[in-house]
């Protein structure tokens, strides 16, 4: 049921997990870097399958997805574990633990998750908070059941996964918000314990597979707020993902192992947004920062304010069947 894409390694009892670029060689009784994929008796087991530790109903805007069913609730779940180890992780109590370290684990088969989501009036399920790619089998199976019942699936992910399992998951995924945490290998190595190239590949694959894609970039003072890096990232996005791909710059707050840095100044976020607009991106938003133009969706043709937000709340939505009411420009997104 939960055998992941693994193969037997050289040692008799060692398994190599091929889910993500780490290719963890897992001895019997041991766990991969994600803590939740273990070798039990020569079988690779995803220990958190059917065992989420967080289940909530959030606004779609919280994911954040601004161009996907705006103003609707989304059933959101997560299990323990992550294959990145970001020093600034906001959800470290969930992501940097294995299933045994959680206070509460819910018993929830994929069918029960879908039933609960429907009972709560949700038309979409988000696999989020920690890293849905390390509880891959649970995400895939739940998404398959949800899709078969007409529900939509959303990934909120750091995107550190191999192409083959990602493409399989994309077939039942409707939208994704992928963190692009920095635009240098050094940043991913030093802050996240990972590498950049697979993340860029993930973004390209999501685009190729027709998944609605939005990107989040958390701006951390002194670590990834260099404007030349921001500019390069935005230019790459415009070229590789298209200028209609929404980009969310998010404000950093000190936490976990990175309490020595201050919150991101508002001016820095505004400069980032300006760089992105100059790079040609049409939809650039600012998260964790209220009261700016970075909360509003504008028509890329005539500048009309189309969706005004305050935090996760929609104040006004002027879209008419996905189009600007003034110039009839079609606005990229999934609106109904």
């Amino acid at each position: 049921m939960v055998s992941p894409p693994g193969r037997t390694g050289n040692a008799m009892t060692t398994l190599v997990c091929e889910l993500c670029p780490r290719y963890c060689a897992i001895p019997e009784g041991g766990a991969g870097d994600c803590r939740v994929r273990v070798n039990l008796g020569g079988r690779l087991i995803a220990t958190t399958f059917g065992r989420p530790s967080a289940v909530h109903i959030d606004p779609m805007e919280k994911k954040p997805l601004f161009h996907f069913l705006p103003g609707t609730p989304i059933f959101s779940l997560a299990t323990a574990g992550c294959n990145l180890h970001c020093r600034n992780c906001q959800n470290w109590q969930l992501s940097q633990r294995d299933g045994t370290e959680m206070e509460v684990v819910y018993r929830a088969t994929p069918e029960q998750v879908v039933d609960s989501a429907r009972e709560q009036g949700c038309h979409a399920i988000a696999y989020t908070y920690s890293e849905p790619l390390v509880y891959y089998e649970y995400t895939l199976e739940t998404s398959t059941v949800a899709r078969s019942q007409g529900m939509k699936n959303v990934l909120v992910t750091a995107g550190y996964v191999n192409p083959e399992p990602l493409r399989r998951l994309c077939r039942v995924t409707d939208a994704a918000n992928v963190d692009l945490k920095g635009f240098s290998e050094a940043f991913y190595r030093d802050v996240c314990g990972a590498t950049l190239a697979p993340i860029l590949k993930t973004l390209e694959i999501c685009r190729e597979e027709g998944v609605w894609l939005e990107v989040t970039h958390l701006v951390i003072p002194t670590l990834n707020d260099d404007m030349s890096m921001v500019r390069a990232m935005c230019r790459w996005m415009a070229r590789a993902l298209g200028t209609d791909t929404p980009l969310h710059f998010s404000r950093f707050h000190p936490q976990y192992q990175m309490r020595n840095l201050p919150p991101t100044p508002a001016e820095t976020l505004l400069r980032c947004r300006q760089e992105a607009l100059e790079a040609g991106l049409h939809h650039v938003y600012l998260g964790n920062l209220m009261g700016t133009e970075g909360e509003t969706t504008h028509c890329p043709r005539d500048g009309t304010a189309l969706i005004r937000r305050a935090g996760f709340t929609i104040l006004e939505n002027r879209l008419q069947e996905g189009r600007c009411p003034v110039c009839q420009q079609a606005i990229a997104g999934v609106w109904s």
Partner: protein
């Protein structure tokens, strides 16, 4: 590329002897064989609950 020092991950890997971890892992194996998740013995940590017991609308600290 095994991550960053000081995050306790190595220590985690050295503790398969912990009885609660062993029970959790064994129950995961049982779940994988039977298709029924959640067969952990009563009294072991973490506390397992039915999804029906979840308060979906409670405030939470999680980003994303």
């Amino acid at each position: 590329m095994n991550g960053i020092d000081g995050q306790g991950r190595d220590e985690k890997r050295k503790t398969p002897e912990r009885p609660e971890r062993r029970r959790f892992l064994l129950s995961a194996l049982a779940g994988s064989l039977t298709g029924v998740a959640g067969v952990m013995p009563a009294g072991a940590a973490p506390q397992e609950r039915s999804l029906r017991e979840a308060d979906f609308y409670t405030e939470h600290p999680w980003a994303g």
